[in-house]
């Protein structure tokens, strides 16, 4: 019982898809492999499916040149024991209540029967997760979450009151695009556009935990919305440019910690230093800055100028604080 098994594999999945219909043809096989497979699958897989010297014998050629499956029924799609064990483990995750009510959870529990959970929450510990996570058991949180989720699915326009990160009360009509979860914050947020006169005024993000009231306007937003445009509207105009030195295992630590960013890296052969361009959401600039500062002199922020300037000001302030403390002692 292992997730690294061919029964979950891409080739099995493509074969299952093609076996759903009694009759298919060579073009459908190739198109399906092209669409569902890896980049090079089309070089290896069609000849295994289409009758010939190398095929698996899952299809036979009909008199009119089509492909007929040798099976009688469409392939079964049963949950494996591993998948059920994983589902059982999720039953103990409080976040499942955001999606299902008590009756549905009981029904799921019943279906999974005496399957053991794949893991328990006690097996894992988060060392540096923030402590003010969202309250997944709060009934108002659950209500707001479900309304937001429904609005994301149906592009509903909602009127939302919420408290901003700086404590200001805000409100307005929003179209909600997607939900975001952060394991670091253990919080959900919604990507949104603020609407004025039914037109997009600005892009934003609303913390579900900060919502105080939601009203469904009963209307949907019909203008097509592209996530790429949304992300682009929030992206920095020029990337952070960071010089990373090999001291204190800096390269490995930096590359791993910032692995989640879109980046471009160049290595200096003589010094062993790396120059990394990092793209980030402008709203997260302070978070990026403090994370960069935590690497100390192992890295240096080379640009853009305003980011370097912010680092410089904080460091100078810190140097002054140390100097003052030393004078006093």
């Amino acid at each position: 019982m292992n997730i690294f098994s061919e029964i979950y594999g891409t080739y099995f999945r493509i074969a299952a898809k093609l076996l759903e219909k009694e009759v298919t043809d060579d073009k459908t096989v190739r198109d399906t492999v092209q669409r569902e497979g890896f980049r090079d699958s089309v070089l290896f897989l069609p000849q295994k499916l289409i009758p010939g010297d190398e095929d698996w014998g899952l299809f036979s050629r009909t008199s009119d040149g089509k492909l007929k499956r040798i099976t009688n029924y469409p392939p079964v799609k049963v949950l494996t024991k591993l998948q059920k064990m994983w589902l059982k483990a999720k039953l103990a995750d409080p976040r499942i209540r955001l999606f299902m009510d008590d009756d549905t959870i009981s029904e799921l529990e019943k279906r999974l029967g005496d399957v053991s959970p794949l893991y328990s929450r006690e097996h894992f510990g988060f060392t540096d997760r923030f402590s003010d996570s969202d309250d997944y058991l709060s009934s108002s949180y659950i209500k707001h979450f479900r309304m937001v989720l429904e609005a994301v699915k149906k592009r509903k326009i909602l009127y939302i009151d919420f408290v901003s990160g700086h404590g200001r009360r805000m409100g307005g009509k929003f179209v909600l695009l997607k939900l975001e979860y952060s394991p670091k914050n253990d919080k959900f947020r919604a990507y949104c556009y603020l609407l004025k006169n039914d037109r997009i005024k600005s892009s934003g993000i609303i913390n579900i935990g900060r919502i105080t009231n939601i009203i469904d306007t009963g209307r949907t937003f019909r203008t097509p919305v592209s996530m790429e445009e949304y992300f682009l509207s929030r992206k920095c105009s020029s990337p952070a440019v960071i010089r990373v030195t090999p001291a204190r295992n800096g390269v490995e630590r930096f590359m791993l910690e910032f692995a989640s960013y879109e980046k471009h890296t160049v290595r200096d052969l003589v010094s062993g230093e790396y120059t990394v361009e990092l793209w980030y959401d402008e709203q997260d600039e302070t978070e990026l800055l403090i994370r960069l500062l935590s690497f100390g002199p192992v890295i240096e922020i080379m640009g853009p100028p305003h980011l370097r300037q912010m680092a410089k000001e904080r460091i100078q302030r810190q140097a002054e604080l140390i100097g003052k403390y030393r004078k006093e002692n």
Binding site: I3, F4, Y8, G9, Y11, A16, F38, R39, D40, G57, T71, N72, Y73, V76, K77, V78, L79, T80, K81, L82, Q83, K84, W86, K90, D93, F99, M100, T104, E107, R111, G125, F126, T127, D128, R129, F130, S131, D132, G165, L179, E180, Y181, P183, K184, N185, L256, E257, A259, S260, E262, T265, V276, L293, S294, G296, P297, R308, Q316, Q318, L321
Partner: protein, 424 residues
């Protein structure tokens, strides 16, 4: 490249290469000195095939470097899951998969002989009973087939757990799958459920998303089983440096596993474990680990676990170590400045990020964090996120305080303070 296959048998080897492409971003062929040109070429081609839209190529005097550049907060599916979907198999594996499940599709219970005969008569496929028996046993273990003994004969039938029914019958199941398929733990398993039914995540993005963790999930079932069964576990560790030096053996470890520790900020996951030979707890990085195998039962597991839990309350991160080496016993105290009127969010940050430390107001706009932790070094990496606000540091180890002050002095020069170290 004759003989190339998209599919793989050895997950560990691929895991190494994908990790290096993903993490470092500018490695060329010669950096992978440990393997032949053929191996490098094959692994590169596989990674390209699985993750073509995220591959990036840069030409330099050293050659063409290959990397995987993903803004993992803006993707709806972890592309590294593809590594799991690439397991190689035999022609018989795939034939038997579709034929046996087709034979049992009507819900009837059948014997091995019945099934083998039907494969021959109805499908024209000749298999010996042993081959079919092995596949039935394997699929019984996987939970796809149910076996039941009647008298001395084993009967086989198909599991009735139709995945589609879960989605159709349980309100919210679909959305829950979309979410859990991209989050810890074992999101890959949720993704396999969605993929089986041609579904996908269209609702959620994951911020601070370390997609590389999925490659380590291959180790977890064995480690978790060892914990549950209170057993030793043995594995080999390979640091990045040693791997690049061509060390194929690594270091053998035998430990008593306690917990999987996840850092959501540094991108690392660890196995926290007890090393009997050294009589101490330590944390092993999962990305440096291979071939975990559970061993014999550790008799005194419960009391060891209780001791571990006590020790964890004094870990700021994952290190149990420094005090033992320095003999330091004084808790560390860091005084932070935060303007209470204008910067309440700084005080909120201190509260939510202080972990096992305590925080108290010790003056106007002054907040003191007391850290009675094993390794003050771990604390200082975090404390540096407050650069510009640290008024005083006391206690802990002298070396840690001195390093902080010298780091600030170096940074001040680097960024054009008293003495300009780099920028002209």
């Amino acid at each position: 490249m004759a003989g190339f296959s998209e599919l793989i048998k050895n997950f560990d080897k691929t895991r190494d290469y994908v990790r290096d492409f993903f993490i470092y971003g500018c490695k060329v062929r010669s950096d992978f000195g440990r393997k032949s040109i053929r191996t490098y070429g094959d692994e590169k081609r596989r990674a390209e095939s699985w993750m073509s839209e995220y591959m990036r190529y840069d030409d330099s005097v050293r050659g063409r470097s290959v990397s995987i550049s993903v803004d993992s907060g803006h993707i709806s599916e972890n592309p590294l899951y593809n590594a799991y979907y690439s397991r190689s198999f035999t022609d018989n594996d795939i034939r038997l998969h579709f034929l046996i499940t087709d034979v049992l599709h009507d819900g009837q219970k059948r014997t091995l002989k019945d099934i083998t005969d039907l494969l021959n008569t109805d499908y024209g496929q000749l298999f010996d009973e042993q081959t079919v028996r092995n596949k039935l046993k394997e699929y019984t273990d996987e939970g796809i087939i149910i076996s039941e003994k009647q008298g001395k004969t084993l009967y086989y039938s198909l599991s009735q757990d139709d995945a589609e029914c879960y989605f159709n019958d349980l309100a919210g199941f679909d959305e829950a799958m979309q979410f859990f398929s991209e989050t810890q733990h074992f999101g890959i398993i949720g993704n396999s459920i969605l993929k089986m039914l041609g579904r996908k995540n269209e609702l959620f993005f994951i911020k601070h998303n370390y997609i590389i963790h999925t490659l380590e999930d291959i180790l977890l079932p064995e480690l978790l089983a060892a914990m549950d069964e209170k057993r030793y576990v043995s594995f080999r560790t390979f640091s990045a440096k040693r791997r690049n030096e061509g060390d194929v053996l690594g270091t053998e470890n035998q430990v008593v596993p306690m917990k999987i520790l996840v850092s959501v900020q540094t991108g690392r996951r660890y196995l926290a474990a007890y090393i009997p030979g050294l009589n101490r707890f330590t944390a092993f990085r999962l990305d440096y680990m291979k071939t975990a195998k559970k061993g014999s039962v550790y008799e005194d597991y419960d009391s060891l676990k209780a001791k571990f839990d006590r020790n964890m309350s004094r870990c700021f991160g994952v290190s149990f170590g420094m005090r033992r080496e320095t003999g330091t016993v004084t808790p560390m105290k860091i005084v932070f400045f935060a303007d209470e009127k204008k910067e309440p969010y700084i005080i909120e940050r201190l509260e939510r990020e202080k972990r096992c430390c305590t925080l108290e107001r010790t003056g106007e706009n002054l907040y003191t964090l007391t850290a009675d932790v094993f390794d003050p070094n771990e604390l200082m990496h975090w404390a540096k996120t407050f650069i510009g606000r640290i008024v005083r540091i006391e206690g802990g180890a002298d070396s840690v305080r001195e390093r902080f002050c010298s780091d600030i002095a170096r940074m001040n020069r680097m960024y054009g303070g008293d003495e300009n170290e780099h920028i002209q």
